[in-house]
Amino acid sequence: MPLATPVWLLAGTGVATGLIGALLGLGGGVFLVPILTLAFHLPIRTAVAASLISVIATASAAATVNMSRGVVNMRLAMVLEVATTIGGLGGGLTSALLTQRQLFAVFGATLAAMAIVMARRSGRRNIIAVADAGLGTGLLGGRVEEDGRVYVYRLRRSPLALGASFIAGAISGLLGLGGGIIKVPVLNTFCGIPIRVATATSAFMIGVTAASSAFVYFGRGDMDLHLTAAVALGTLPGSLAGARLSERMQARSLKLLMAAVLVAVAARMLWESR
C-alpha cells in the first residue's frame, strides 16, 4: 500500500503517542490507533497491526529494565500468558470477522471503559495483601520490598486473574492495546499482587500477548511495513521516556484531564462507527 504520509511525521506520532501512553500507564496504542485512523485515514486493521508491533518493541525494552530491578514475577507471568495468548490469538482472528464500523464501535466503547477505570484509580492506593505466615508465597507468589520493608505475597483468586488476562489478551488482539489497564487493577485489588509487581509482570507479558495476534495480522496482509517501522521506531524512545517520567509524576489532576480526553476520543471513534 503506498503511503502518502511522510516517515518523519509517522515517527513523530509514534514518539508523542508512546510518551503520553506511557505517562498514563495505558500504552501507546490508546492514542496511536485513533490518530492513524481519524487523522491519517488509514484502515483500522492497518493501524492496529502497527500498534501491535510498537507494543512488542516497547514491551521488550521495558522487560529488560524491569527484570534488572527484580520485580517481574516470571512464574506468574508464564501462567497468565496461557490466558493472554489464547485471548490474543482469538482477538486477532475475530478482527477479520468484524467490519471497520464494528471495530470502531468496540474501540470506542473500550476507550470509554478505560477512561472510567483511569479516573477511578487516579488517587490509587497500593493494596498489599500480605500472605499468611504459615502459608508462605505459594507457587505463584513472591517477595517484594516496599518502603524499606520486605512483604511476602501470594496469588489469590487465580480464576479471576486468568479471566482478566484472557480479556486483556482479546482486547490486545482485536484493538492493538496492551491490556495492562485491565490486568494491573485486577491483580492488585483482587488478587493480592503488589502494584509494582503487577505492573512489571503485566508489562513483561504484553510483548508475548501482542505477538500472538501480530502474526495473524502479518499473514493476512494487514501490516504496512513502512508505516509499522516508522511508528515502532518512534514509539520506542517515546514510551521509554514516558515510563521514566511517570515514576516522578503522580498528578491526579492530569490523569483526570486525560480521562476526559479519552472520553472525547472514544466519542469520536463511536461517531465513526455510525
Partner: protein, 89 residues
Amino acid sequence: MKDFVALDRAVETVLTAGLAASALLLLAGLVGGSGSALRAGTVILMFTPVARVAVVATGMLARRDWAFGMVSLWVLGVLATSVAVAFHR
C-alpha cells in the same frame, strides 16, 4: 538461586538482541528504502517474544521444574499456532 539469575540474564540477552537487530533493520529499511530489510526487521521483532518464551521453557525444563516447563511449552504452542495461521494462508 543461581539458576534464576542465569535464566533472567538469558531472557534479557534474547530480548535485547532481538530488539537491537530489528531496530537496525527497520532503520536501514526506512533510510535505504529496502522492503526486504523492513520485512526482516518486522519478522525478527515478532519472533523476539517467541524466543523469550522458548528460553524460559528451556530454563524451566533444564532445572526439572516440570509444571512451569509445561506451562511455558503451552504458551509456545499457542504462539506456534499463531505463526502457522499466518504463514499457511
